[in-house]
């Protein structure tokens, strides 16, 4: 976490130092609408993942990571109250997802289906696929740190229309893949890639997620921005009493794209 904040600070600091501009450019790159208001239409490529933060010690290595999709289209309605400060309300439709393969050790699982529970500790490879279609509604405070740079931060709420969270567990590249049933002294049941155990937790995903959104806009042309945004989920995507995944899982997705400013 500390590293992340430092990275953010570094970006922030760098951009501030470059904000030594001639006064007239503030007007040149200012809001296009009257009263400092306007609309931004955005489209971008979305990449990221859903992860426990920080990574628990049970996760020993991440061997595969590939994003699926993703895309975001949306619209911001903003109003600048002063030269530097303003607010924005936005609505973004997104499709995001990822595939990951991680080596785990002593990973606690408790899976219940049709009233039967398989619980214990798994060591081996856990491959996960997630996909989410939904809409995000952020409320942003915008700081115009230079004529051409805007940084916006604010809370968001996401709603998922369609979601998947499924995967397989099997042996790792050293051939180790097993479940200790119940606890560490229980039966050792080996699980291999040829005969993996599959899971599907989509019904245990919550339809809502909240977090913080960061948007970095750079005005490339009079009406065109390039932007990077980050949606940092702060609420668990899985049901609170869902014991199968013993960690809280947070969606963290970044979008890189272009925007049109009306």
């Amino acid at each position: 976490m500390k590293r992340i904040f430092l990275s953010l600070l570094a970006v922030f600091g760098l951009t501030i130092t470059q904000a030594q501009e001639q006064p007239n450019t503030w007007e040149k790159w200012g809001p296009t609408g009257e009263n400092g208001s306007g609309v931004i239409v955005r489209a971008g490529y979305t990449i990221g993942g859903t992860s426990p933060i920080p990574l628990p010690n049970e996760i020993r290595s991440i061997n595969e990571f590939s994003p699926k999709g993703g895309a975001t289209v949306g619209m911001d309605v903003y109003k600048m109250f002063s030269r530097r400060w303003g607010v924005a309300l936005a609505c973004r439709f997104f499709y995001e997802g990822f595939h990951t393969g991680a080596d785990v050790k002593n990973y606690k699982i408790s899976l219940t289906m049709e009233g039967n529970t398989m619980a214990g500790y798994f060591t081996g490879t856990n491959a996960t696929n997630t996909e989410m279609w939904g809409v995000t509604l952020p409320i942003l405070v915008t700081c115009r740190i230079s004529p051409r740079w805007n940084i916006s931060v604010g809370p968001y709420l996401s709603h998922y229309f369609k979601k998947t969270f499924e995967g397989e567990v099997y042996d790792n590249k050293n051939g180790v893949g097993y479940l200790r049933v119940g606890d560490f002294t229980g039966e050792k049941v080996e699980i291999t890639r040829q005969s993996p155990a599959t899971y599907d937790f989509k019904d245990n995903m919550l339809p809502w997620n909240g977090g913080l959104e960061f948007v970095f806009d750079w005005k490339a042309m009079k009406h065109m921005n390039v932007f990077a945004s980050l949606d940092w989920g702060l609420s668990n995507i899985l049901e609170k009493d869902f014991e199968t995944v013993p960690f809280k899982m947070y969606p963290i997705y970044a979008t890189f794209g272009a925007a049109y400013r009306y």
């Binding site: 990275s7 010690n57 039967n116 002294t185 050792k188 049941v189 080996e190 750079w218």
Partner: protein, 405 residues
């Protein structure tokens, strides 16, 4: 102006940096298993009976469910102090019970196994939170008698298993057959431990292999084998049914999901020559025969029963154990008999089949436990391949294994 463009790649890099999460410290091992026991014996071949790989000392591989390791020694030999080495989970500590207290145990220490003494060991995990207790002993093999005899399988001696920690209401039944001698009476297995993985909520009488008290031919208990649907968990690992089974051997739950055929370990060393199996049965085929994928197939289910005698050492002297893949086909098989002509019936009906030999029995080998025997009953003939009809029910009672000697 140009300088500012640097910012976008920098931003991208920053995001990438954020996702490169740190991997935490590796947790200490929590398991505390004995994986292998090695006893140093000067001339293992003349001391140990078959059953263990004694080509290199006396060595026993210990499965995750075993907590009692009994080496069999020939009926006419004895052991005394023997150096013992334990292969345990990495980082685990070993203790031996001495004078009522667990003392640290170092590999290679001599342990007193005279007079069939049972030695207690305790293994503590590297993280110190978990422990398991084990017993290690040396017991005498039975002396071969070379007399005609009938061994009865009565299905009257059963109990809930004690090896797992499930609540009483969710345990499964295990059987002993006293006529098979003190070392092998309890060596009867079923597929129940595998079923338990899929249906943890099942009560003891909902398992595929159960005793039915008062329903037997003689008014005692009989064995009821029923092919069961394994529900959502079974489908998850593409093992949609579990046939009821009962056999002389072991069920290795470690392999149950990985390779189910390898989980049924058939046979125990046997010092008799079985020639005929007879008993009583009732049979009802389930309504819907399904293939491995769960699709209905136009086929009527059938039960299975067989008796196999095989040489349990290969040319290099390694212990051979048949499993679901080769129990009827392994070239080490010397005698085989299989049930046929079963009809659907709800009254007790006699059955019998002969064990047919393809080679002569080597009596010296037999006396030294060089042959293993299995006898197996199943409620679905292709149950090992997860093909069968849920509801197929095979009742068995009063089985006699007639031995020429």
């Amino acid at each position: 102006m140009k300088r500012k463009l640097i910012n976008l790649p920098l931003l991208l890099l920053t995001f990438a940096g954020m996702f490169a999460s740190c991997i935490g410290e590796e947790p200490l091992n929590a398991e505390c298993d004995i994986e292998e026991v090695t006893v140093m014996i000067d001339n293992p071949g003349s001391v140990l009976a078959a059953g263990y790989d004694y080509s290199a000392n006396g060595r026993a591989t210990v499965s995750s469910v075993e907590d009692s390791i009994c080496f069999l020694i020939k009926w006419n030999t004895d052991v005394d102090m023997l150096p013992v080495s334990l292969a345990v989970t990495e980082g685990a500590q070993c203790f031996i019970l001495q004078d009522g207290e667990y003392q640290p145990f170092r590999n290679g220490e001599e342990v007193d196994f005279s007079d069939e003494k049972v030695q207690n060991f305790r293994i503590q995990s590297q993280d110190t939170y978990w422990k398991r207790d084990y017993k290690i002993c040396f017991v005498h093999d039975e002396e071969p008698l070379f007399q005609p005899m009938d061994l009865h399988i009565s299905f009257d001696h059963f109990a809930l298993n004690t090896s797992d920690k499930a609540a009483e209401a969710n345990k499964y039944y295990v059987w002993t057959e006293p006529e098979f001698g003190k070392n092998y009476a309890g060596k009867w297995a079923t597929g129940n431990p595998g079923f338990k993985l899929s249906k943890s909520s099942a009560n003891p009488l909902e398992y595929p292999s159960v005793p039915l008290e008062g329903e037997g031919v003689d008014g005692g208990a009989c064995l009821k084998l029923e092919t069961k649907d394994t529900g959502a968990f079974g489908a998850m690992v593409r093992m949609r049914i579990a046939a009821g089974s009962f056999f002389f051997g072991e069920f290795d739950v470690t392999s149950a999901l990985k390779n189910a055929l390898a989980a049924t370990l058939f046979g125990q060393p046997f010092k008799h020559k079985p020639v005929k199996v007879s008993g009583m049965y009732k049979w009802k085929a389930g309504a819907r025969f399904q293939d491995k994928a769960g699709n209905a197939v136009d086929r009527v289910d059938a039960p299975d029963a067989y008796c196999v005698l095989y040489r349990n050492l290969d040319a290099e002297g390694n212990f051979v154990r048949l499993d679901g893949a080769d129990v009827l086909t392994n070239p080490n098989i010397v005698g085989l008999g299989r049930l046929s002509g079963v009809v659907e019936t709800d009254v007790w009906t006699p059955f019998e089949f002969d064990v047919v030999y393809t080679e002569d029995i080597d009596n010296e080998l037999l006396a030294n436990s060089g042959y293993s025997m299995t006898i197996c009953f199943s409620s679905s003939i292709d149950g090992a391949y997860f093909k069968g009809a849920p509801g197929s029910t095979f009742y068995v009672d009063d089985v006699t294994l007639k031995c020429e000697y």
